[in-house]
């Protein structure tokens, strides 16, 4: 009886709001990132295990036990003073050689204003010599031309100046970071490289076929002076 009465009663329900529209709008909006946003259980599990291991590893006696547990007993963790890296190692240069060794492969011209380099590196294909000066510029020499590809390696944020150095065509690139581009002698393929030192670059296309590149924290006049001292 009661059941029948209830079933035959039409209810005056409150008006149903437009939930579909609200839901669509919420789903279209980018999700709000909250640091306490619910994360999948596996993420929490992984994070918890990682934290526990990190805490245990911080203490030497438990570290040994953890390494045992993980089957990594043969791993030894030693604390040592870091060794100084070989000077010039970070630069994309060739093998370290003496100036005399480099001269057997390439007619190296040393900038007289700088004197003998701290280190010399020799690379092949194409043959090039990099002379490194501690606290000073990087001087590169190779048989190549920079015209016209160098302009493609320069971003619009850099300043690009055309000069003559000792009667040879030269470019001075300053300002923003810039790349280096050249065409090796006897080749049609341009080579593109990233900039190696933060600083300005002077390129001189010497009449003897050597492309001289001086890169470092130098202004144009200093760079030109160095280039003019190259024998």
């Amino acid at each position: 009886m009661l059941e029948r009465e209830l079933a035959s009663t039409a209810i005056e329900w409150p008006e149903t709001p437009d939930i579909a529209a609200a839901v669509t709008e919420r789903l279209a909006a980018p999700p709000r990132r909250r640091w306490f946003a619910p994360r999948p259980a596996w993420q929490i599990a992984v994070a918890t295990v990682a934290l526990v291991i990190a805490v245990l590893m911080a203490v030497p006696p438990t570290r040994a036990a953890v390494l045992d547990l993980l089957g990594l007993r043969s791993v030894r963790i030693e604390h040592r003073e870091p060794r100084p890296s070989t000077f010039g190692h970070r630069l994309a240069v060739g093998d370290p050689v003496t100036l005399a060794q480099a001269r057997r492969r390439f007619p190296v011209k040393v900038p007289a204003a700088l004197g003998p380099p701290t280190a010399v590196y020799l690379a092949e294909n194409p043959t090039r010599v990099d002379m490194v000066y501690r606290g000073g510029p990087l001087v590169t020499e190779l048989h190549a031309t920079a015209t016209p590809v160098i302009e493609k390696a320069i971003g619009s944020a850099s300043k690009f100046e055309r000069l003559t150095v000792g009667g040879d065509r030269a470019y001075f690139i300053s300002g923003a970071n810039h790349g280096f581009a050249y065409i090796p002698a006897g080749s049609a393929e341009p080579h593109f490289e990233d900039q190696r030192l933060a600083g300005n670059t002077l390129l001189v296309e010497r009449s003897d076929g050597i492309l001289l590149r001086i890169e470092g924290k130098l202004d144009r006049d200093e760079a030109v002076r160095l280039a003019e001292s190259v024998g």
């Binding site: 009661l2 059941e3 009465e5 209810i11 005056e12 579909a20 919420r26």
Partner: protein
């Protein structure tokens, strides 16, 4: 394909692939029942609206866990009921549910009642609904699902997250308590 409305299963597949329009269609199909269940549980329209909205957002994100081929409505309503209950709990309010009968009872095969009979019937309904509103959330929800929203026993079970057998016994106890509320003995 032209002109044929998409089946629920097709809409679900599309919604899973990120089709918002397909999901909006599904929400529209079920928002009324969802809102009413939330209203019965929460006891007010504002909370019911928020609960239903939140539930549909959660359901969208959980669509991957919905088993294809099963009816969508009970699955959705279970999420809605859960959300509504959470909201009711956190709100801490325990207001009685207010339900009003619409002007007329549902049309039946019987002849139109006399004005006196209609008045009596109207009073009787008001008494019943007031009694229902005073019941616990658990009791009134099971009654509302079965008799006011006309969900099947299986759908009611899914919505409330209980076994179908439990619906029977819970419903029978809820009706007993409603009889007590309105001054009838079981």
């Amino acid at each position: 394909m032209v002109g044929r409305p998409l089946t629920e299963q097709e809409l679900v597949e599309r919604a899973r692939e990120g089709d918002g329009t397909a999901y909006a269609t599904l929400v529209r199909d079920h928002e009324e029942t969802a809102f009413r269940i939330a209203y019965v549980i929460c006891g007010n329209a504002a909370d019911a609206e928020e609960a239903a909205q939140e539930a549909f957002v959660k359901a969208y994100r959980a669509l991957g866990r919905f088993r294809s081929g099963e009816p969508l409505r009970p699955w959705l309503l279970a999420i809605v009921a859960n959300e509504a209950r959470n909201r009711r709990r956190s709100a801490g309010r325990r207001t009685a549910l207010v339900l009003r009968a619409a002007g007329e009872g549902r049309p039946s095969g019987e002849a139109a009642p006399s004005p006196e009979a209609a008045l009596l019937a109207g009073e009787r309904r008001a008494v019943l609904l007031a009694g229902l509103g005073r019941l616990s959330e658990r009791d009134r929800t099971v009654i509302a699902c079965r008799y006011l929203l006309e969900l099947s026993e299986a759908e009611t079970a899914a919505t409330l997250g209980v076994r179908p057998g439990t619906v029977k016994s819970r419903l029978s106890r809820a009706l007993d308590r409603l009889r007590e509320e309105v001054g009838e003995d079981a």
